[in-house]
Symmetry: C2
């Protein structure tokens, strides 16, 4: 499998990206369409078909042995269906079956986008060489995925690692998911910005009230802006510590737009982790920024296929 | 391995139990000593030696192929050492090496007690047939273990599944572990009793102020007693939901003394789980009482050996 080529799809609420990826994780061909996220399911599928059409027109397509999909969730890998929150036309949409039909019966692997980014970080990023890792994206939402025992742990439905929706504050604010005090409800970019505004932070003359603007203010020493990042860091630390305590990980990789705040986030995060990761077997837990960039979803979808194939080959020849 | 016999040790702060167990999980021979928990390390080891001496005097000992240890934690399976909180004479104590030396070099497998109980419930109890499960003990403390992908997930150091020390209340009360708002700090027996007393519950004429007495009062309709169990149930639900959201489990098995309260605990637990297990892939999560009893630690230590041997044989012959 190492020298073969796989196809990858990264399905999000904004764009549908596709690529042909080689065994070393290099993107050889790429295609992209905007997601017609508010249209009916067949129209959205039309954009996927268009991406696949462009990829399959390439001369390398004949070498493609399998296809991986990383999709915004929830997904159900056991049924091959997806129900992305921001694509209402797809509810239990049979994406695997439809993609398989369009590609002449290629084997198709589906995982959630958090698992895909995790697979990418494990293959080429900050989690490389770590057999047990949590990888997170802290952005408009908070997502994640797990590497356990040396391999991606996507879970039976492909959704494992959903750290954004574990409760770290059981009496806390209601979360759109229906829960209370979820990590995302405290630590996402919009919640960092909202909390800063609620507590009296004033945006600059450009009116930018985003988490990135709060980060600039925090870096300049604004105490309210700093406090909002510290609260986010505390929630992330509680969630990361819970994950380590439950499954034993030795590194937590944090990426996404909010992680771009840098030490404004990472310094209080490491400090808070000392408060929550207390048991002996989690005390050496490290936190590192993510390395892979906007192609992480594509690389990770490819990685899931390649790792799956490698596991099958090991089972056959082992 | 199925027809062979394994030896098992269950090491706790109160007793050190040993047994010879057959491939169907039947205990054929057993031995037990009180744990001299406040003595020096060699004296504690003397009790282990005495248990092993009794087991090895049996004619079945010649059929023993391997030995499993489930120990109060923290343990470090990667180093073969144990540091049980309630046995101060053992800190980083090389239990695996010492047991191996006493048994003529038998292969020894070490796991934490939460993992051992989980292995027992997966083999013979309520988690049987479930490929992804959380098993918990709610008692003086709160412990647990995980089954993932059909097998015990003990983690690199044997401590995975420590659900008692994940924070579900990041601003909550300090826990003896050093964290805040841990599940154990809210849901353990002593905390259920303490909260009921603090809120005005009065023990009966016998003066029994244990969680079991609070359960009796709750069953009789005492609102303060009921509220204390409901708060414990809420913390357990948040922890169980977090586990399901992180690793995908389809059943949570709850045992231990507090679980003996029955519906006083399980009814609010199931209700609270609806509040915290909100994402589509965790909504079918079930909660069930544990089935295995006081022998769970021994059965689970044996199960870990037998499952490990089965995995090795599969790798060799697969």
């Amino acid at each position: 499998m190492q020298n073969d080529i796989v196809a990858a799809l990264d399905i999000g609420g904004t764009k549908i990206a596709g690529a042909l990826v080689d065994g070393r994780g290099r993107i050889l061909v790429r295609a992209q369409r905007a997601t017609p996220s508010q249209e009916d399911g067949d129209t959205v599928m039309g954009a996927v078909q268009s991406v696949l059409g462009e990829l399959s027109a390439d001369s390398l397509w004949g070498d493609v042995r399998a296809l991986g999909i990383g999709s915004a969730g929830p997904v159900d890998a056991s049924k091959g269906t997806v129900s992305p929150v921001n694509v209402p036309g797809w509810r239990g949409f049979p994406l695997v079956e439809r993609v398989r039909a369009l590609t002449g019966g290629l084997p198709v692997t589906l995982i959630g986008d958090g698992a895909a980014i995790t697979a990418a970080e494990h293959w080429q990023g900050a989690a490389r060489g770590h057999d047990n890792a949590l990888c997170m994206v802290v952005s408009t939402g908070v997502g994640g995925g797990l590497v356990l025992g040396g391999g991606l742990h996507a879970g039976p439905t492909g959704n494992a690692g959903h750290i954004g929706h574990i409760s770290v504050d059981l009496d806390g604010d209601l979360c759109p998911c229906g829960g209370r005090g979820c990590v995302e409800r405290i630590a996402s970019g919009p919640n960092i910005a909202r909390r800063a505004l609620d507590d009296g932070w004033l945006p600059g003359p450009d009116g930018d009230a985003s988490a990135a603007a709060v980060a600039v203010a925090a870096r300049a020493g604004d105490p309210v802006a700093r406090a909002s990042f510290e609260r986010a860091a505390q929630a992330l630390a509680a969630g990361i510590a819970a994950t380590a305590t439950l499954v034993e990980i030795d590194i937590a990789v944090v990426g996404g737009g909010v992680a771009k705040a840098g030490e404004v986030l990472f310094t209080p995060l490491r400090k808070a982790l000392d408060d929550y990761a207390t048991l002996s077997f989690v005390q050496d837990l490290r936190v590192a920024p993510a390395v892979t960039g906007t192609d992480a979803g594509l690389i990770g979808a490819a990685a899931a296929v390649i790792a799956g194939a490698a596991a099958s080959e090991a089972a056959v020849s082992g």
